[in-house]
Each structure stands twice: as C-alpha cells, then as structure tokens.
C-alpha cells in the first residue's frame, strides 16, 4: 500500500521537493479515497481528523449563513489541498466540504501526521511551510474577494 502511494504523493505539487524519507513518512499516514458527486466530505463542527489532496474533481467549501442556508466561499480542484483544521486545536472543521463532481483524493490521517511531526521537526517544518503557503494564498484570495472589485469601478 505504502509503496503504491509514494510515487503518487511525490507527484503532488503540494509535496514537491520533499525528501524521500519524508514522503515515506507521509505515505504511512495516507490512503486513496473517492467521493460521489454531491457527497459531504466533512461538516462544520465535526472532528477534523484528516486533510485531503484532490487528484481529480471539484469540491466546494461551504459556510452556513442564517436565513440563507449554505454559501460556497471557495472551491478546490485537482492538485489543491483541502482542510487545515486537523493541524490546529481544537481540531474541528470550521466549514463544510461537498463535492460538485465525483472526486478522487488522497486522505491523510491528521493525528498520525501530528505525531510524526512532533518526532521529526524537519518534517514538521517542511509541512508547515507548505501549509503556510496555502494559507497565505487563501488569505490573499479572500481579501481580494472582500474588495468586491467587480462591483465598483470597472
């Protein structure tokens, strides 16, 4: 199982440049998963035990807004990472994730990875750098969305 996933994991943009021994570590916490169209991957408030790298498909990240129901705040597609609540206490999902199309992904066991990162700080630092990069991109994206640039001048 691990041998099968290592080449797949090493090809993911998120893990580019990670040392082979670290890929092997990460692969030990990974599994392949599939979701049907319209399936809920995780729900707001539930325990956040995993994160995902999308290999194929499209996933909506949704927030529940009183009197409006669910609103899509972002979408994630092939090559992108989904979920960081597993990394920070209290490890509960802040948003809901639902597939828009049939989706294939790699799922990583958050508790397994946290344990390995505590033992190997080099791996922990490498992973945190990658998550920080994604967090920065999502923050920038959210800031631009908040500017409502298409609603004002142009």
């Amino acid at each position: 199982m691990i041998r099968t996933l290592e080449p797949i994991i090493s090809k993911q943009p998120f893990f580019h440049g990670l040392e082979e021994r670290h890929i092997a570590f990460v692969a030990g916490c990974a599994k392949n998963v599939r979701f049907d169209e319209g399936q809920i991957i995780f729900r707001e408030g539930e325990s956040a035990d995993e994160f995902y790298l999308i290999r194929e498909g499209l996933v909506s990240i949704e927030a529940t807004v009183p009197h409006k129901g669910s609103v899509t705040v972002h979408t994630v597609s092939a090559g992108e990472m989904l979920g960081w609540s597993w990394l920070f206490p209290p490890h509960h999902w802040r948003f809901q994730a639902r597939t828009q199309k049939a989706t294939r992904a790699l799922a990583f066991d958050g508790k397994c990875l946290r344990t390995k990162c505590e033992k190997d700080h080099d791996l922990g630092y490498e992973l945190l750098k990658r998550f920080s990069h994604v967090l920065t991109e999502r923050l920038e994206s959210t800031r631009v969305q908040l500017l409502d640039i298409y609603g004002t001048s142009h």
């Binding site: 949704e62 129901g69 972002h74 631009v144 969305q145 004002t152 142009h154």
Partner: protein, 288 residues
C-alpha cells in the same frame, strides 16, 4: 517574442475627432442585473463601423454627459456597433434608459489594439474580470475567425456572482463550436452554482496553455490585473508577452486634455493596451 503593437489607429474621420456623430440605437440588450449592451446603427446606410479589437469610443448621452467605452462587438462580421456597459454613474444610468430609435453621440474609434495578428502561432490566454470581458470579446471574435492560426486559446474569466457572468450563452456556443477552453470563476455563489468559486488568478496556475509560447491579454479592475500579472509570471509568461488594457479618466480621447496621463503615457492616445514591460516600472503604484 510577440512584436510590439501599433500606436493609435486614427479615427476614420480624423478631421473631427472631438465632434460626436449622432447615431441611432437599434436595440438595448439586458445582459445581467446591472450590465447591458447597446446595439447602434453604424451610420446612415454605411452598414459597418470599422474598428480594431481593444479600441474604444466616446459615447455621449445628449444632455447628460460623455463616457469612454470599449467596443464589445464583432470586428469581422459585425452588423451593428456594440458597447457593453455596467451602470456605474449618471451617464450609464441614462444610457440604459435609451430605446430603439433614440440617438446617441459617438466619437471614435480611439486607441490602439490587442496584438492579435502578431500573436499567430502562439497559445493565447485571455484573462478577464467583470465588465473587462467586453474589451476582450472583439479579440475573441477575431481569434476564433482565424482559429487555425493559433495554438490553444484559453479564456479565464472572473465575475462577481453567477448572475453577473456576461455573454454566457455565447461562451457556451463558442466552447462547443471552436476549440476554446473557458475557465470561469465567481467571487461568491449559492450552493446551486456548479463551478469554481474564488478569484480569477487562482485559475491561471492550472489553465491548459504553454507559458513558454503564450501571449496573455488581460482586462479587468487594476487590482485583479496586478495579481494576474504575478500569476502569469509564476507560470512563466514574460512581461513582453503580457498585454494589459489600462483605464484612466479619459475625456478628449485624442491626447489633448491630459486627464488620462499615466506616467509618460496618455492612455487614450498611447493605449489603452500596453505591453507590460513598458509600464512595469509604474504599474500598481499609488502615485507616479
């Protein structure tokens, strides 16, 4: 490398560049909740309004005021002069109330053009934000009319909401009829929307084009273009193959009044299309 684009294409009737010609509205098409397209009879019996993709006209609503507006129609097989606008102020508000048979003052066409013929043999990436798609639509018409001269053609388009997407039916038909890749995203949506949500620049990283052989044509709000240029450069599209359509407060449209001065350039006369390496040192600066 894509060659430099030509300077301003002079209006056909250059003797009267500041005198509006009264033309008749053929019809007004409601595009979205706040955007509309004006179809204007080219001239009395002329049947054509020659222009190049990327050029703009000054449109004068009599008794209200004059605004610059990109020509949004087909430069190849056009039967009417088309302009697509969002209601943003008094002039566009009054413009939206015009009916078939009403008159509107037209000066132009002004400005330079997108480097369409110079980009033959390249992949073409068009990145549009909001109403900026109107300025790129004539380029798309011209590209698709000569589809075999280009590599991949990719349209990356961001709108506010699904309801604000311009020319939706046309985009769908182009996608089916031609080899056109369209990547659309919106800033926010209900869960009924089956598509991307997020800023338009997020689509650049995974759009299907060869960055080493691509020309990028970009039009949208300046903030969006700033992030777009960064993403294009990350993909490997160089500044000399990146073209932006800039917008400033254009008044005379012929380089006399100076309202649209942008560093050493006048947007109306030297632009509105600029190769990025030529404005890189002043682009994105609050004060020049």
């Amino acid at each position: 490398m894509v060659q430099a684009i030509e300077p301003q294409v002079a209006p056909k009737d250059a003797s009267t560049p500041i005198l509006p010609r009264p033309l008749r509205i053929r019809r007004l098409i409601e595009e979205t909740g706040d955007a509309f397209t004006l179809e204007i009879e080219p001239a009395n019996g002329a049947g054509r309004y020659p222009f190049q993709p990327g050029q703009f006209n000054m449109l004068y609503v009599f008794g209200v005021g004059e605004v610059p507006m990109y020509i949004s129609g087909d430069p190849v097989g056009q039967k009417t002069l088309q302009h697509t606008a969002r209601v943003t102020g008094a002039v566009t508000k009054a413009m939206r109330l015009l009916k078939a048979g009403d008159s509107i003052g037209v000066r132009g066409p002004f400005g330079n053009r997108w480097p369409i013929s110079e980009s033959a043999g390249h992949d073409i990436v068009l990145v549009a934000g909001g109403i900026g798609l109107a300025a790129l639509r004539p380029a798309l018409y011209q590209l698709l009319a000569n589809r075999d001269k280009y590599g991949r053609i990719v349209l990356i388009y961001g709108a506010r909401t699904p309801e604000d997407i311009l020319y939706w039916n046309e985009l769908e038909s182009w996608r089916e009829k031609y080899d056109l890749e369209t990547c659309v995203t919106v800033d926010r949506a209900s869960v009924d929307w089956r598509g991307n949500v997020g800023i338009v620049t997020a689509l650049i990283a995974r759009a299907p084009f060869d960055p080493s052989n691509a020309a990028a044509l970009v039009c949208g709000p300046e903030v969006m273009m700033r992030f777009t240029v960064m993403e294009l450069q990350k993909r490997g599209v160089t500044p000399d193959r990146t073209y932006l359509s800039m917008e400033r407060n254009m008044k005379c449209a012929v380089g006399f009044c100076g309202h649209c001065q942008y560093g050493p350039h006048f947007i109306c006369k030297d632009g509105p299309i600029f190769r990025f390496d030529r404005i890189e040192s002043i682009f994105g600066k609050a004060e020049i």
